[in-house]
Subunit: 207 residues, 4 copies
DNA sequence: ACGTAAGCGAGACGGTACGTCGCGTCTTACC
DNA sequence: GGTAAGACGCGACGTACCGTCTCGCTTACGT
């Protein structure tokens, strides 16, 4: 159960991989809540008792899958800092593209985790991560672009993080139309110019 | 089980109300997944077998609670059409305020349904509703304010709907700071000027 | 529930009769153990709640049916005492015939109560009654026909009582072949000459 | 559930034995009808769910107990055929003794199964067996001892089989007074000379 | 390379919750 | 007052899935 770093036994690694793959397959078919441990074990061609040698329960298995995915995601994105310490707008866009590429590569997984009947916990964790990324970006901008915020920063960060997830959900649900780069552009426009701007609306009088 | 509108028997109505109240109470304490039917029945002071005379299972009970909440929400908001057929910006803001008041009144329910370990289905349904409202709004604006959209409308609608939910989640999780009117203002600013604008950032060059 | 003698209300008498008839009908079809109160009530065309106004449960109803039957049986048989105080062998045979006529008239009831999956309690009660009748007969005979018994009287009485029931069971199970008088003759022969004698076997040496 | 002959798993055999023993104990205390599966499981120190892994319900368990007992009984008695093909009266008596020894050894079981509130099915099965044994005996006698029967053989066989059961019931209910050999003698006398003969009555005139 | 400790399959078991059923009580309305 | 209709508390039912536990067999590892 320990998962202690670098388990080396081939059989163990094989078993765990089979189980994790089975999990994603089955969540897609039936949703996570409906899954039974025996389903997962059967689908993986693994004895049920063996499942318990590696994971406490299906939630534990899921958590490890989420860890893997988020670990992978985090390892590919880096702070958008220019050498000068200023905002590197290119890096910012690059990060978005990187993230969307990762999502596209694991489209089945994200569709399953974020969609209707998705896994609330994963949504939460992903949102937290996006918020944190946005916060870091804001930290950098704030130093160079001082201004008085008209609302709590937290509100804006939650707005952005959730909005991004909403777009990602739509994207994977529709089998990732367009390229990651195009989607990243859309997100940047939405972030900088706002939804109205993205729709081409230039509000006349309103505040 | 029939649930046929306007069940008249007082005992039946009483029983169902007790069960629905118990559900919300307990989701708050333990989360929905961890709930047992016997917990709900006990907390409601109802026999477990009686529970099954009214609902198939806890999911059915939950669905009815969601129906009630969304029904309530929808009945309070109305299309922001001016008499002239033009966009009524005042009505638009009023609708937002109305919605937030409703959320604040049912803060416990929304905190529970939308938060970490929330109920994916409810998030979906609420998002669908918000997207639909946004779509209607956009229909009205589109006729009077023609312009070429730079991205699929669907992307923007999902962006907005999810973003609103993200803000609502933050709001109820922090016990609804500020007034509904202030929050509605924030949302309008975020929608019209975008997150950067809301933070007071006026991006120099980026298009 | 009181059953107090001569309940006079016509509706009550009608309800009880319907229920008792329904009981016998249904025991025949499904056996007593498998019966539900609602089955009985339905078959009787009576509301289930009304059933409980008259009987505690199906066992109570059954007990009353058994009481009726045994009451009826007992009221028709009389001690086989001649005026002289001696055994009246004619009366003895007459009693048997009377009993068998009663059984034949209630064949369905006895078949149901005594047969495979019958009601143990009724078998017991009937056996007790037969044993008591046999004991009385023996009392009379014993005074006039002294002899040293070779085994406890109780053994013989149980032998006879059970044997009679066995024959009755066979008789009603085969739809009462022959006349009650013939059966009574058979029983008398079996009782007086014994099974071997009844089969025409005259054992050479034994005993 | 398979019960396939010679289940080899020690745990399975142990569990089934515990359950069967518990059943007999509890029938004695409360009667079969009043027993709950949970009572049996508790008394056996077995989880209720495990009960259902081995038996459909309490009736199934009972049936298996009856099978065991009758199997045991049958395996100990053998046809009373002399080498010459003639009736072996010694073997006949020996069989009776064997049977009564078996009954005495399982007195609790038989008291419970045959007594008041006994199990009708078991009484039936035992009676069928005794009738069959008697029939075989009669087959042998009939060839050597031709005579015209005065009543259907079936009547006599039922008479005997039921009578024997009646005596057995009395015997186990009174904690098996006397020796099996003595009881066997009584039964032989009753069978050959009849109840009147056993009581020392030599009926004067009646034919 | 090979003996041995491990991982594994099979399946019995204790346990908990499920959804159902039938009981017996009660209330309401009708006749 | 007797009855019909039906909600309800209660408790047992039989099932499903969980997580644990042997018990042998097989398989990769370490010397």
């Amino acid at each position: 159960m320990s998962q202690n770093a670098r388990t080396t036994d081939l059989r163990v690694r094989r078993t765990r991989k089979l189980l994790r793959d089975a999990l994603v397959d089955l969540i897609e078919e039936q949703g996570f809540a409906a899954l039974k441990v025996s389903d997962i074990a059967d689908h993986a061609g693994i004895n049920r008792a063996t499942f318990y040698r590696h994971y406490y329960d299906k939630y534990d298995l899921l958590a490890h899958c989420m860890d893997d995915a988020l670990e992978d995601l985090k390892s590919q994105t880096h702070p958008p800092l220019a050498a000068s310490g200023e905002m590197n707008h290119t890096a910012l866009g690059t990060n978005l593209v990187t993230m969307l590429v990762h999502v596209a590569e694991n489209a089945a997984f994200y569709r399953v985790m974020l969609g209707k009947d998705g896994v609330g916990t994963f949504v939460s964790r992903l949102r937290d991560y996006l918020r944190q990324v946005a916060a870091e970006r804001w930290q950098i901008l704030a130093t160079s672009n001082i201004s008085q915020p008209v609302m709590p920063t937290e509100v804006v960060l939650n707005f952005i993080a959730s909005a991004y997830i909403g777009v990602i959900v739509w994207w994977v649900d529709h089998r990732c139309p367009g390229t990651p780069t195009e989607m990243a552009d859309h997100l940047l426009v939405l972030t900088i110019e706002g939804p109205y701007g993205a729709l081409g609306i230039h509000p006349p009088e309103l505040a």
